[in-house]
């Protein structure tokens, strides 16, 4: 059994909405609702869901970039939600993040050398001049960029190259765990494949653990060991990647898969068309949040949120009327 690197226990994030002249709380958004999962060292957990489902909030709460309302994040056996800011700073060396938009996440006034040095300065690593230079070259080599990159500015690079720079910055402090928040969504298809390959190579070489957040199921399925599907703040299904595709239990997962256009004109997939839009997270439907769009909905679904059903301990879902295999 491989070792658990990160465990999230009943994580909850609630954003209050204030209104009126007194600034009283008038409503709240439960962006992340009682989410629990484990990620083993060296593995990738994929997190998929549509916009507004809370996947980014979840990623950031794990790093405490957004302070979670309640719940625990246990990294390497230590509960990081209980740490003070000094302890947390030390911890962040082990946990890094790559953002979606490589145009917005690099400071346009800093050279690439400056950008890559900053995390090393903060954590006081590789301080000798020669040592520092060697480390920077090593990083560029890892993300397959030429050495003369160091003196250039972000605007001189294309989207794919910028994303490589962001990856190098995350790798600079030798992290064990990286949250990849939609790292390839802003890239062209041919470049997307290059970055996905790079992330997988780095994982193998450096033994990294990823939380890979994306809305593109094809990419997530490809890169992940396990996949969690989120809908309106709740994880509705978790399973190994191939199992999730071949044996989806939750109707939402099934609908997500069937909504993906398949690049094969001969194959006319039977599409499950979901009715309506994603409801507002401010005012989610009663019971199972998915029930107004679900074709398998029964009375039960409207009343109470279904609990976790577990198949052979590795495939979890929350649904009263799961899909039978082959259905």
């Amino acid at each position: 059994m491989s070792e658990v690197l990160l465990e999230v226990k009943n994580l909850h994030k609630r954003f209050p909405i204030r209104g009126g002249i007194l600034g009283r709380e008038v409503a709240a958004v439960n962006a992340v609702n009682n989410v629990s999962f484990k990620i083993n060292r060296g593995e990738t957990l994929g997190l998929v869901g549509e916009s507004g489902c809370g996947k980014t909030t979840l990623g950031r709460s794990i790093l405490r970039l957004i302070e979670p309302t309640s719940g625990q994040v246990i990294f390497n056996g230590k509960d990081i939600t209980a740490m003070n800011s000094d302890e947390m700073r030390v911890m962040r060396r082990k946990m890094q993040i790559i953002f979606q938009d490589p145009y917005a996440s690099l400071n346009p006034r800093m050279t690439i050398g400056g950008i890559l040095s900053e995390p090393l300065d903060i954590h006081k690593l590789f301080r000798g001049k020669e040592e520092r230079r060697k480390r920077l070259y090593e990083l560029l080599d890892q993300v397959q960029l030429p050495k003369d990159t160091l003196n250039k500015y972000p605007h001189e690079f294309s989207g794919g190259q910028r994303q490589r720079i962001c990856i190098a910055r995350a790798l600079a402090v030798q992290p064990e765990f990286i949250v990849c928040d939609e790292p390839v969504s802003a890239l062209d298809v041919s470049v997307q494949a290059q970055v996905v390959n790079l992330l997988m190579d780095l994982q193998k070489d450096l033994g990294l653990t990823y939380l890979f957040i994306a809305h593109d199921l094809k990419v997530v399925e490809y890169i992940s060991t396990k996949v969690a599907v989120m809908y309106l703040g709740n994880v509705v299904e978790t399973a190994a990647a191939a199992e999730l595709y071949g044996n989806s239990k939750h109707p939402y997962t099934k609908a997500l898969f069937s909504a993906i256009p398949i690049p094969d004109p001969a194959r006319k997939s039977e599409r499950i068309l979901l009715e309506g839009d994603i409801p507002s997270p401010m005012n989610p439907p009663s019971g199972c949040h998915f029930h107004p769009r679900c074709w398998k909905c029964t009375e039960e679904c409207k009343v109470e949120y279904p609990g976790i059903t577990s198949l052979s301990g590795t495939h979890d879902f929350k649904c009263y009327n799961p899909i039978e295999k082959g259905q």
Binding site: V189, S190, N197, H215, Y222, F257, S258, P261, R271, D277
Partner: protein
């Protein structure tokens, strides 16, 4: 075939003047659009697909842009020779367009109903106020918006992304155009909403019998939506045919590369996942394109001829009804 040709584009060339000198964003594009058919234009960013679409609408900002060569014939008449006044009777009326980002294309200070009625004011001014309002309601109903009588009084910010795109489609179709140009209409939407919009567009195409130009970077969407496809790279069409032919047997290495760089669900059945095939390098800058074929530096099949003085390869028939611009096409 006895299909009715709505639009014929030949040798379209569009140039932009920039601080670093002129660049040609579209370098001789030929396209045909037929009634009741969907033509897909696929390409990565900077391939010239949106510029081609904007040229048809004569919406290229001039300066800095200019159509320097070619013609665009709509039902036999060259749109490029038309006066701006004549063009206005076509734009939005006979040829309509929907854009990628529905929020920025709708005016936030007018109600949805107002914005649909504006189209009718311009092109169907003979209708009475009441008729226009009813038509706006009918259009919203047509694109599947529930309670259209209520919705026409709402503002864009009150609608979700999918609903806004439906409103955009309703506006575009208000005058029953012959051609609908859709520039990445679903790229900003979630997959389940994308599926709804694609389904809607297919239904409306059958019902109204218009020709659609569908611009996208997603080959999956092309496979599901289009009858014909043109693959663009660096301002040129590199491959064109009907969809099933291109997918079954691509001639151009770029087309093949694009198809292979998408992860498929089938390949993940076995334990060890194969690496994704990629296209090496990146799209070259339009300022310094290599001599010969623009794709040569990324092409696994490149031969001397591709780098030679012969200039870029021309779009030639490689098999009946299947064209590709390549010196060394795949067998």
């Amino acid at each position: 075939m006895s299909e009715e040709k709505l639009l014929e584009i030949r040798n379209l060339q569009v140039q932009f003047n920039t601080d670093r000198g002129p660049i040609t964003a579209v370098k001789g594009v030929d396209l045909d659009v037929y009634k009741g058919k969907t033509l897909g234009i696929v390409g990565e960013s900077g391939s010239g697909k949106s510029v081609t679409a904007l040229s048809i609408m004569r919406l290229i900002p001039d300066p800095p842009g200019k159509i320097i060569n070619g013609y665009i014939k709509f039902k036999g008449k060259n749109l490029l020779d038309m006066s701006l006044g004549d063009m206005r009777t076509i734009r939005g009326n006979k040829i309509a367009m929907i854009f990628q980002e529905p929020m920025t294309s709708l005016n936030p200070v007018f109600t949805v109903g107002n914005q649909i009625i504006e189209v009718l004011d311009l092109h169907q001014s003979h209708l009475s106020k009441e008729e226009k309002k009813n038509k706006a309601i009918n259009m919203l109903d047509l694109v599947g918006i529930p309670a259209p009588e209520k919705r026409i009084k709402e503002y864009p910010h009150q609608l979700s992304g999918g609903m806004r795109q439906r409103v955009m489609i309703a506006m575009a179709l208000a005058c029953e155009p012959d051609i609908l140009i859709a520039d990445e209409p679903t790229t900003a939407l979630d997959v389940t909403i994308q599926a709804q919009i694609l389904e809607l567009m297919n239904k409306l195409k059958e019902k109204l019998g218009m020709g659609i130009i569908f611009i996208t970077h997603d080959l999956g969407v092309v496979a599901e939506m289009c009858d014909d496809v043109a693959v663009m790279y660096c301002g040129r069409i590199v491959e064109a045919s009907d969809v099933s032919t291109v997918f079954k047997h691509p001639f151009h290495p770029y087309t093949k590369g694009l198809m292979e760089s998408i992860p498929s669900f089938d390949s993940t059945e076995d334990e060890t996942k194969a690496r994704l095939k990629t296209i090496e390098g990146m799209v070259p800058s339009l300022f310094d394109l290599p001599k010969g074929c623009s794709f040569q530096d990324r092409c696994p099949e490149a031969i001397d001829e591709c780098r030679g003085k012969k200039g870029p390869p021309l779009l030639e028939e490689q098999a009946p009804g299947h064209q590709a611009a390549c010196f060394n096409p795949l067998k």
